[in-house]
């Protein structure tokens, strides 16, 4: 009887798994459960780095991702920009990915209504995209104007008030890299931090965390790291502004739980069938 049940479960149609995953994501999105979000030290470090700069500091946020990873990284961008605006920093945005330009503007559009006094060219700027990855960062480090002679709207950066006195990385308080692959956070570590010594933190997709975690070390190559939707949700908790990441965490948690239940059922079935095979032989 049990054997038959497990045989049936092991041969389950993949479409049933798909439906269950769909429901486990959709239902918590519609009916928010509100699980408690625990803040990890990596995220707290990013918060402290951002929070520790004096008013009026120039900071750089690099948008190195596209729409495919938007659900994970965009909440980080919005939370970080919100935190920077709240602390009256001057935010310089760049992109090592072509689609990063739009991602930046969408994040600013989302946050701006809460900060109506923030003006483009004075409090924030979108320098746009430049091909070259590692070399672009190196050029920026030596001379912003060589890498970005104009901003995304073709205005010469010399004419932008926000860029007054900002010739290279020297006067930046910190850099935040939001990355979904290459070029991205690794390149920022190699050049931005290691070559120019600028404090650096970042955010990435959850699948990228294992490859970036070695940089969160004693040398603080990365001061901290926001990993996936959970990292974004933790940051939203820290800035006390729950957003789409906090909402999405319930869905992600339930979906993970469903996958784990599937794995457990699969393994029980595997052991039962193995035991049965032994009995027969």
């Amino acid at each position: 009887m049990i054997m038959k049940l497990f045989e049936k479960l092991l041969a389950i149609d993949r479409r049933i798994i798909f439906i269950l995953i769909f429901l486990s994501v959709a239902i918590p999105l519609l009916f928010v459960i509100g699980f408690k979000i625990e803040v990890t030290p990596e995220v707290e470090n990013v918060y402290e780095l951002v929070d520790s700069a004096p008013k009026g500091s120039h900071v750089l946020i690099s948008f190195d991702y596209g729409p495919s990873t938007k659900p994970e990284i965009q909440p980080m961008a919005e939370a970080l920009i919100r935190h920077c605006f709240r602390n009256d920093y001057k935010v310089i945005c760049t992109a090592l990915w072509p689609m990063g330009v739009q991602m930046c503007m969408e994040a600013i559009d989302e946050v701006s209504p809460d900060f109506p006094n923030k003006k483009y060219g004075i409090d924030f700027v979108n320098l746009g995209y430049k091909a070259g990855g590692l070399v672009t960062i190196n050029l920026m480090g030596r001379d912003f104007c060589s890498a970005f002679p104009t901003d995304a709207a073709n205005t010469p950066i010399d004419e932008l008030q926000i860029m007054d006195g900002i010739k290279n990385f020297k006067r930046l308080k910190f850099i935040i890299g939001l990355s979904a692959g290459a070029p991205g956070l690794k390149e920022w570590v190699q050049v931005g931090h290691d070559a120019y010594g600028i404090p650096l933190a970042g955010g990435s997709t959850a699948v990228q965390v294992p490859s970036l975690s070695p940089y969160v070390n004693a040398q603080k190559q990365l001061t901290g790291l926001l990993g996936g939707l959970k990292g974004a949700a933790e940051y939203e908790v820290l800035i006390n502004h729950p957003g789409s990441a906090t909402k999405g965490m319930d869905a992600q948690s339930i979906a993970h739980l469903v996958i784990i239940i599937f794995i457990i059922i699969g393994n029980i079935g595997y052991f039962v069938s193995k035991k049965n095979e032994k009995k027969i032989s």
Binding site: S68, L139, A153, L257, F262, N267
Partner: protein, 231 residues
């Protein structure tokens, strides 16, 4: 000549960059800066080359009626639509050939390029990435088995990290007293990531770094020539 000239350029540029790294004085310091600017110009042209290649590859497949050739038409049409929208009306920050696009903007709410990007490209890209969740669930159900000691360890670590990266992990072990916080699933997951995973990752990164140095030396010395088209 066709092969020797690129080899010579590669050798000279590669050697110069290495020298410039160790001798930051004239003329090496300036040279490396100049070469970086060249790199960015070439990167810009590479994007153009990529676009031309996209048109060429898809056109060939359509003309030869390759399997599913209809999809290649959709690809070219979508590409053309984005390019034309960008050229004619520009993007949000930039003006196009038809400078005054008030009529279109009032009709669509956005400039056509931004409209396509926001309502087509963004959603399609996010959908493609989201589909992974379904395949991961199905694959892990069928393939994630405790067949050996190694796979069992991997399975246990994966379950701990998966739970630790969600709010369920803290919910499940929330009752554990303060003095035993190291037994909280998120803490255990953090321990696995910080020590076991990071150690392995460092080894991979060091080996990959050595591999990059090795292949760079081979390219500079002209031993590795695959970048010349496999000849």
């Amino acid at each position: 000549m066709k092969r020797n000239l690129p080899l010579l350029i590669t050798f000279l540029v590669g050697t110069l960059i290495i020298f410039a790294e160790f001798i930051p004085h004239k003329p090496f310091g300036n040279l490396s800066g100049g070469l970086e600017t060249w790199f960015m110009i070439i990167s810009g042209f590479a994007i153009l080359l990529g676009q031309l290649n996209l048109i060429k590859v898809n056109t060939i497949k359509i003309s030869r009626k390759a399997p599913n050739w209809q999809y290649y038409i959709i690809c070219i049409v979508s590409f053309a639509a984005m390019v034309i929208a960008g050229i004619l009306w520009g993007t949000r920050d930039q003006t196009g050939i038809l400078k005054n696009s008030q009529g279109v903007v009032s009709w669509l709410g956005l400039k056509p390029f931004d409209y396509f990007f926001k309502y087509f490209f963004e959603n399609l890209s996010a959908t493609m990435f989201s589909l992974l969740a379904f395949f991961v669930a199905s694959a892990s159900y069928r393939a994630f088995r405790a067949r050996s000691l190694e796979s069992t360890l991997l399975l246990i670590a994966a379950v701990i990290v998966m739970l630790g990266r969600t709010t369920i992990g803290s919910w499940l072990t929330g009752w554990v007293p303060e003095s035993l916080t190291y037994l909280h699933i998120p803490q255990v997951a953090q321990f696995v990531i910080k020590y076991f995973q990071t150690t392995g990752q460092r080894a991979i990164m060091i080996c990959a770094g050595l591999g990059i140095v090795g292949s760079s030396v081979r390219i500079i010395l002209g031993i590795e020539r695959s970048y010349l088209g496999g000849k």
